[in-house]
Subunit: 329 residues, 2 copies
């Protein structure tokens, strides 16, 4: 029995799982990330959890078990050859850190364990392809709608990295010519229209101009203003909240239409927290897609919600390590 | 010596060439297309020209020559499995025509010749990859700026078709939220901003509102209003013409930035007649790219003009047929 360790390292939590070739999670561990303690301590943490799982599920306890390797997902842009983080807004101080080397030094090299590193959205796409909504297709696109908007592309079963490892930056495709400033330096990016951050900004502005909406009342009564609260209000019929999600849907539709027209993939999967508000944004999204992509209008292209939800990245990380093993069989 | 017949079937002209494995054009023939005479006559024409070249350069005249096959580029969207044209605005009456079968029936089957069919922009991209600006990269994107705007994607040396064979419809990526109506049913498509048709429409409107520009005077003196005339006026310093091409550049920049951010390819090539006006649109295009894609701004990504110009599609068509042969070696 082959298995791998998957690691999902986020800005706030660290999750590590032992996953076998069939996709069964044998055990999972998690821990809050002490980003403030510095990157060395986070890597220590990560290696400790991995070692616990390797000791328990590996060959020392189970003679039939073979560890295929450790797959690690990190937020940010990775230089693939060097295993170095180039940019990572969620892991301050990690820029140009050689993450793979550091893990290898502590865990890999002495035991001959292979470490594979990739971007978290790419791995979420890979996980979704392996065990989720993309099981039956060869190629697909995942868009993650969270604090920011990210993406991963799978072409013929493999992550498409692009020549600098920067492919899949779908949050920074321009969807509005007159849109507002984005953190990336551009304007009108999908991220400024369909992220949780964008939803909260829009809701805050809406509350200021109309105080009698459900949303205004909820916030006035002390509820924290989140994208999830805006969704709840939309479901309860609040027009202000509904309009905010209709706008999310419209811009998702514009962004997706561009991808459909350029790539003609069979499947586009929406993941991340905001994607859960499907009922609130999907009608406007499909209407826009129908209008902006005659290829979509021809039929056959599917746009669906993630099936693995928060697990996609963790499972994709394990698959990254298993993939070599699975191919070698 | 292996060679192939490349065919470039356009709405107005038909070009056929015998091309050897090294990319040398052994001979080329061309003829105006009698679209009005109907598709059967056009196919007859095509087969006649191909037969002339096969007889002259094939085994009957040169014992060392082996015909790898015939590659045919047609404008429009092709169903790959059936070799059927699905849509083709430039070949009226050809919808759902089984182009490959028809050529095969007349030329292929009796002689065991293989026929390969693909979209003209895809083949222009393949040609550019084989012998032009893309010689040194594995993956690239070609955007053709002509009457319409088309595109072709090459990933790892092969045309990316998408699951329905419709990939590369780059003219229909939305670049302006408030843009005008496009023939595809959407609004604000790149085609409505950067095609020769769009340039002429804009120029016509500009002439009506200012009669003292160089452009107005040229048209008043009887010159036909074309994208090439607008370019000439821009080069001669006419502000109206310059602004029109600056707008072409801006929207090309927006469209390219989306592709750079999504795909992170090393090379984007601009072909077609409008691409020749490089000096007039490139400054605005690069400015917009720099602004709208932090991946572009990181450096390394190249945007260049086509090297093969009008020959790219013809050479790509020959390569499509040669590719199997080249691989079998």
């Amino acid at each position: 029995m082959r298995f791998a360790i998957g690691v999902d390292l986020g800005g706030t939590s660290l999750r590590v799982a032992a996953v076998d070739e069939s996709g069964r999670v044998m055990e999972r561990l998690s821990s809050p990330v002490k980003t403030l303690a510095g990157r060395d301590q986070v890597i220590d943490q990560l290696c400790e959890l991995a070692q616990v799982l390797i000791a328990k599920h590996g060959a020392s306890n189970n003679p039939e078990a073979t560890l295929a390797g450790i797959g690690v997902g990190v937020p940010g842009i990775i230089q693939l050859e060097t295993g170095q983080l180039r940019r990572s807004p969620n892991l301050p101080g990690w820029e140009d850190f050689r993450v793979r080397d550091e893990i290898e030094r502590r865990l890999g090299a002495p035991n001959g364990i292979k470490i594979a590193l990739d971007n978290d959205a790419n791995l979420a796409a890979l996980g979704e392809k392996w065990l989720g909504a993309g099981r039956d297709v060869d190629s697909m696109c995942l868009i993650t709608l969270g604090t920011g908007v990210g993406g991963g592309l799978i072409f013929n079963g493999r992550i498409w990295h692009g020549f600098l490892g920067m492919a899949g930056e779908l949050g920074h495709v321009m969807v509005s010519e007159s849109g507002s400033q984005c953190g990336c330096g551009s304007t009108g990016c999908l991220e400024t229209k369909a992220s949780a951050t964008a939803i909260v900004l829009k809701a805050r502005a809406a509350i200021q101009s109309s105080s009698d909406s459900l949303l205004s009342k909820a916030v006035a009564s002390g509820e924290p203003l989140t994208a999830a609260l805006v969704f709840r209000c939309a479901q309860e019929g609040d027009d202000v909240a509904r309009r905010i999600y209709a706008s999310v849907g419209k811009y998702l539709g514009i962004g997706l239409a561009g991808l459909v027209n350029a790539l003609n993939l069979p499947l586009y999967v929406l993941g991340g927290g905001v994607a859960e508000a499907w009922d609130a944004y999907a009608p406007a999204m499909f209407k826009q897609l129908q209008r902006s992509s005659y290829i979509y209008a021809e039929g056959g292209t599917r746009v669906v919600q993630s099936q693995l939800r928060g697990e996609a990245g963790l499972l994709g990380a394990a698959y990254l390590a298993l993939d070599g093993a699975l191919k070698a069989k």
